[in-house]
Structures are given as C-alpha cells and as structure tokens.
Symmetry: C2
Subunit: 152 residues, 2 copies
C-alpha cells in the first residue's frame, strides 16, 4: 500500500483510505468523511474550490499521523484530501484510523480532523449566487505554514 | 435508496452504507467499521461466525436509528451488519451517520455502536485452534430479545 497521507484532484475512494489501515491487529476503524454542505448559516453554497500548498499540506498531514501514533501507539491512521472544484455532497476529506478497540478509533479520528483544521494549509473558496470568498481552514498559524495570500 | 438498516451475508460495501446518508444538508459523515481482529487477549482467532435473529435484529437496528434521530434531530444514520463466516480483517458491521457539523456525527455514531452491542440480537462464534465458543454481543437483555439458546 502506498503513502498514508495524500492529496488528490480526483474523487476520493473511501474504501481506498480504509484499506490503508485495515489489518489483523485492528478490530475497529473510525472514518470521518467531510462532504460539501449546501447551506451554511442560511446561505446557499453553489460549489467549492479547494486549493492546497501541496507539499506542505502532505507534510502536515503526516505530522498529524505521527502525533496520533504517539498518543495512541496502536493506531494506524490515513488521511486523504481532495482539491479542485467540488460540488454539493462531494467528499473533500477522508480520515480513517484503525485501532484494536473502538474507543481509541473515535478519539484518534476526532483528533485528526481537529488538527487538520488547525495546521494543514488547505483553503476553500465558497461560491454563492452573489459572489465568492476564500476561507482559510486553519484556526492557528504555525511556523512555516503560510497564509493563502503568501503563496499566490 | 433502500432501507437504512440491513443484514447481509455478502461483504458490506462501505460506500453503499455511506451513500445512504450523504445529502446536501450534511457536511460530515462519521463511519464506524468493525473488523475481525486476529488476537483477543493473546488468543488467536482463526475466523468468526456471526448469526442473527434477523427480523428482530433489523427491528432493533431501526430502533437505534429512531433513538439517534430523537437525540440528534439533524442526523441521518445507516447500519449494516454481516452474518455468516468472516475471516480476519473482514468487515462485520458498518455504521454511518451524517450530520450538518462534525461533532454530532461522532457522538451519534458512537451511540449507535454502543447500542448495537446492547440490544441487537447478533451473536458471534469465535473459532480458535483449540475450540470454539458462541459469544453474545448483548450486554443487557431486553424484553422480546431472546438469548441465542432460545432461538436454536
């Protein structure tokens, strides 16, 4: 199996991400799938565009996997993020974490998505009827992680 | 799309369960996948057999979905369980819950698997090198839910 973290322009195959973590030692896989929602605070989204500072984003995703293995030594994580234009209900991100028992799979998966929002340089542009806006997914700035305007 | 809860003898297609809950109102899908683990407390499992009191099991799975919608009114759940002989790493159960935001998808998915263990009449027979044993998955007995020995 190839890398556990990747960015793709094509639709993410959920089974493919899950396959990267399924193993005899695991009895549980928790998967988080982020999909494009039509309405946010009453405003209709037509479609989204995702853009990544790709090499840095993969590096940060791998960093999250390392953090997970430190906190949950028996966990095996995989993270895939899609970039480009995504329509309503399209899958933007898939996180899969396998663990021997289920409690840890939930905890580690939740940790992964929160960290994704914090440190991975992926931005989305929301397109509405009356305009569009780039929205940073990162809550905090980390050394070495540029803001979107820095790489354009 | 067909029923949100089902039991099958064939391998569960994860995408199929996820497809039942993806919708424009949702931005998050949490999926729990239970797989056959090789070692439990140091003892090697060769394979498992799952058996269900099928009509009652589906009814109880639907009951769990109703409970979820009562607790998380914006959630859409789907549950699939496989029966028959399963090899190591095979998928026994898939739960998918979609919600507008991610926190609720984790909570409702976790609720679903805990309730599955509690009230759904599905049993597994562990096969080891030196024997085999039926193991009830239910922690509590509910009125109308028979023990395995009652239906054999």
């Amino acid at each position: 199996m190839s890398e556990s973290c990747y960015i793709t322009q094509k639709p993410i195959i959920i089974q493919d991400v899950v396959d990267r973590v399924v193993r005899p030692e695991a009895g549980a896989v928790n998967t988080f799938i982020g999909t494009v929602r039509e309405f946010t605070k009453g405003k209709q989204t037509l479609y989204l565009e995702y853009q990544a500072y790709e090499s840095m984003a993969v590096k940060k995703m791998e960093e999250i996997c390392t953090e997970i293995k430190r906190r949950w030594p028996d966990a095996e994580p995989s993270i895939a993020h899609r970039v480009g234009r995504l329509e309503i209900t399209d899958v933007a991100v898939v996180i899969a974490v396998s663990t021997p028992h289920r409690a840890e799979s939930y905890e580690a998966s939740r940790y992964a998505i929160e960290r994704m929002k914090e440190i991975v340089p992926i931005w989305k542009k929301e397109h509405w009827h009356d305009g569009a806006k780039w929205i940073g997914d990162q809550k905090e700035r980390q050394p070495g992680v540029p803001a979107k305007e820095d790489i354009q």
